[in-house]
Amino acid sequence: MSHRITVDTGGTFTDVVVADAEGRLFVGKSPTSERAFEGVRGALEVAAEEMGVDLASLLADTSVFIYSTTRATNAILEGRIARTAMLLTEGFPDVLVLREGGKLHGFDLRTPFPEPYIPRRLTWEVPERIDSEGEVVAALDEAATRRLLESLPGHGIEAVAVCLLWANVNPAHETRIGELIEEILPDVPYTLSHQINPIVREYRRASSAAIDASLKPLMGRHLREIAEDLRAAGFTGELMAATSFGGAMHVEDLSERPIYSVRSGPAMAPVAGRTYATHELGAEDVIVCDTGGTSFDVSLIRDGAISFTRDTWLGPQFTGHLTGSSSVDVRSIGAGGGSIAWVDPGGLLRVGPQSAGAEPGPACYRRGGERPTVTDAAVVLGYIGPDTFLGGRMKLDVEAAREVLGRLAAQLELRLEQAAEAVLAVANEHMVRAIQEITINEGVDPRESLVVAGGGAAGLGIAPIVRELGCEQVLVPRTAGALSATGAQFSDIVAEFTASSFADTGQFDHAGVNAALAGLEAQVEDFAQGLRAKGIGGMHSELFTDARYAYQVWELEVPLPGTRIESAEDLAALSQAFDAVHERVFSVSEPGARIECLTWKARLHAPIGSTVVEALESGNGNGRAAEPARRDVFFEGAWHDTPVHRGGQLPKGAVVQGPAIIEEPTSTLVVPLASRVTVSDLDNYLLEVTR
């Protein structure tokens, strides 16, 4: 029982990473299939072959399997969720319609207003009301509630979400409705807002409850299925699933709270980034970029800790859906090789937002694409070799790329290659901007951070991107093509517990807060006991509060200096901790000002992740550099005769001066002029640019 398998099932590809007893990693990739295990098996077979074992014995010899899937995210984005009833406090039926307002562009009157996550026709008002102090203003009308619940099967309801005003302060009415659901609709899964996300702000709580309930039937089925398939294939170890906290939990627990599965794949990328950054360079502030086929994800590690947010949107900001719950902060923009380049009516070169996607795809795919894309530009410049794309599985048509780019160049009155360089520069700029947005919001200076780049297309533009950001180094792991699955190899069990207890440092409610903290501790202990029963030890937990200066409304997450707030010194320490975070994020602070604490959180880590970081195991046995192939590649206005290295052929410690190209089976690293790559002891690429 010595192997550990991690899987990231994306919309297109399933990535697996297998670690052997020595911590060496093997990567496999295969197309995703409807029955998820089919794709997993395909990818596992690739890895198993490389390891020289068969699939059955690999699975039989695996102690931990961590599964991550986009199934929940895609179900939401594609509207394939359960038919869910939303129960809200009487008088306030439009919580999911009105949301929190906001819109991206003031002068854009052409974007339709989003539909609510749960339609109004499936939303019901429950006669009851609790006020902000937790007092019952109107008792729950049980008879009316019973009648309502009894009517739900007639509406074809498959799940129920409940969010009552101030349930975060006094959950009595929600709890009672939960009991009534179990009595009247025993087979219908449900979610109570105070249990899934007990924070103030009714929209966020309602959205969390709605999303969670709506995923329960689907994710329950899906996770059961994968468990059965794995068992049938001979796996007898511990089956875990990745979560939006960048950690893992047992699949049974995730089935109970499937909202944590949302965007769990992207949340694993920073775990990989943190591990490599620490082991390779001891870096504490890290920007992690993951370039997929159609999206570019950025996340952040600050002082060695992964940044979290409560503003996770599924789909675009303001027109998508806010999960409302705390998760790893991963910003995503639509950008990729398929983004189309065009010239606007003012003569400016633009890239995206329209994309040729995979079908018809870039012109060089020869599948009918007639507009120039980022991939076409990379082909014209020689960054992507026409014969080695996707390990040679797909031939690219250079002439088709030159033709569509040529038309664009004529419009811009530029030479073909200049136009192609400009297209890549504009595309890179979108990514620079995505990185700036997340670092700006956290008060992080990119120049003092290490960039870790993953994803198949990461290497194409990462050098100019980090140069624009003012960074000097970027680490490109050799597992770049499967960054999330790699991250899962190093992930711990992470569980978060939240309690609401409003407290103002001006007249601090010590009793209320300490009771909330004690309650959190009890929940953590309860959860920890469950883990210990499974033989997992070495847990530790941290306490946080979401706090703000009086009159502010957006809270900052602050680690608590102690476990209780008893004395004046404890309170002063809390204030100082808050001032420090505020100063860091906004460059101003106001020591001595009143601070309002809204929610209290406990985050538990149970180390199950590998702490052994070893080199990727593939191909490069003899330690001598093979003679690279060569081709002409265009850099900074001229063609250069450029060596093209095959990934596995570069030994540890090798230094490659730009210009050069390094081709891995699933990714390409472009090393421009005035930059160089060093192959690290762990076989990763450290790219340094000169400013």
């Binding site: 509406h155 009516p345 520069a425």
Partner: protein, 604 residues
Amino acid sequence: MSLADHADVQDAAGEERLDPALLAVIANRLDAIVREMTSTLLRAGRSAVINVARDFSCSIVTAEDELLSTAEGLPVHVFGSHLQTAEMRRLHPELREGDAFLDNDPYVGNTHHADHTILVPVFAEGLHLFTAVAKAHQADTGNSLPTTYMPFAADIYEEGAISFPCVHVQRDYQNVEDVMRMCRRRIRVPDQWYGDYLATLGSARTGERRLKELVDKYGVELIQRFVRQWFDYSERRMSHAISELPSVTVVGEGQHDSFGPFPAIPIRVEATIDAEAATVEIDLRDNVDCVPAGLNQSRATAVNNVVTGLFNVLDPDIPHNAGSFRRITVHLRENCVVGVPLHPTCCSMATTNVADRLVNITQSAFEGAGENLGVAQGGSGMSIGNAVISGQDWRTGGPYVNQLFIGNNGGPATAYCDGWVTWTLPVCAGLLYRDSVEIDEQKYPIHMRSLRLLQDSGGAGRFRGAPSAEIVYGPKRDPTSVIYSGDGHETPPTGIHGGLPGAGAHAEKIEHDGSRTPLPPLGQVTLEAGEWVVGVDNGGGGFGDPLEREPERVRHDVLEGWVSPAAARDLYGVAFTGAAQDETLAVDAAATAERRSSLGAARG
């Protein structure tokens, strides 16, 4: 003129053309700077009007007083910061690094007294290159009543706000403490004001730091060249958009409804499109004189709001800066209610009410330019759901005063889609955040009884106006003052191209015994525990003939409760089989065609 008309590497002025990628990169960088300023102010601001509603804007102006970048700014704040920087230079010819100025003077370039603007001149290599501008609506500005909106004030003396006509607030990066003391004496919530001041200043200083880095990286000469070429590009985009319109003069007429002792204020907007010259001229001179009340426009808002109305009908991708402004001329008259107010005329309400009407009347006037042009009118007015509430909070022992942002005016329908639901006001076009019921109840000692969107309140049309909301709230224990300034109770937002108007607004008080008393559309009411206010806002106007609305959309509207079965039948002419209740509702195509043709015929 397009880029293709230029010589290979030189533009018309004989200047070397920037690499197209570099142009995009620097433009993006400037946007990023404004976004960082915005993020700083949003998250560090203290008052709800800033950090909940985001009633503030940041911009970058060149040293020649040309507006360069306003990413994410509220439409009502876009135009005018360059007037303020010009005034700053006029009053303080010897600008120095480390200076910061506070301006809220409505007679030169500011919007109204309630918007405190911080101006920070940015230097590089000893040259004043840019001014970073952050403007934020205050919770209180020391008015004679606890509100920043004074509709009935005859002049600025009755209004009572302290005026800061481009006043020095920092020298060498240090506060001018005299000004801090003045504000602390005359503003009702001094700590909150100071927190907001720090956030606004921090925002402008962030802009300063980032602009210096930008110039360091690219050099003064290249950045100046960028600015010229970016303005030229923006102007080309604007020319192109205007040249696609017909050459025509359109006239929009409407009014701000009567308020208190004042009759309605008629408003007339005349816009002339010259497609060949690619210009638009907007004339506001044929309007009444300033009124002895707070509803007058300031110069900045009069221009801004008609320009917003114009931008609303054009491609939203056009940059909104001094380059695109070159193609627009706005004619104003002194002492005109939608013109240039003279001291001591009160402009306390210059950013809402008449301002909202100006946006509405302008955007809907372009109906006259041709099929599918123009935008219907959106809900306007700041009634009960957007009132300023104040009183004493027994929970903290202190006073509170702030504006609620929890009502809902429905947005206007356009040729592209139904109205945006959380529209709030034409001057902010849905950008504002809404309050959470729970946050409001936690921050203020009030209790919300209900908040719901109203059926059939959005104007019918091929595209439908968005619905309005009804809100009911009152104090929990001690009395609460509610000061509000609604509109649209007599003339609700109109539809265009055959679209119908949105529903009208009204306000009521629920007495101890449950009886209802109508409230005036603008006013102040003090509620005791057990008394409630009811506010109903405007629905948005519709676009196009309701009989042309896709029947499936009408079905969806009925299922979702936006449109009643009666309205579906009588206004949209859609016939159904089945029932909404069990979702068997289906469009009866033949009966719908028949009903639509008879409804059409009945109109004549």
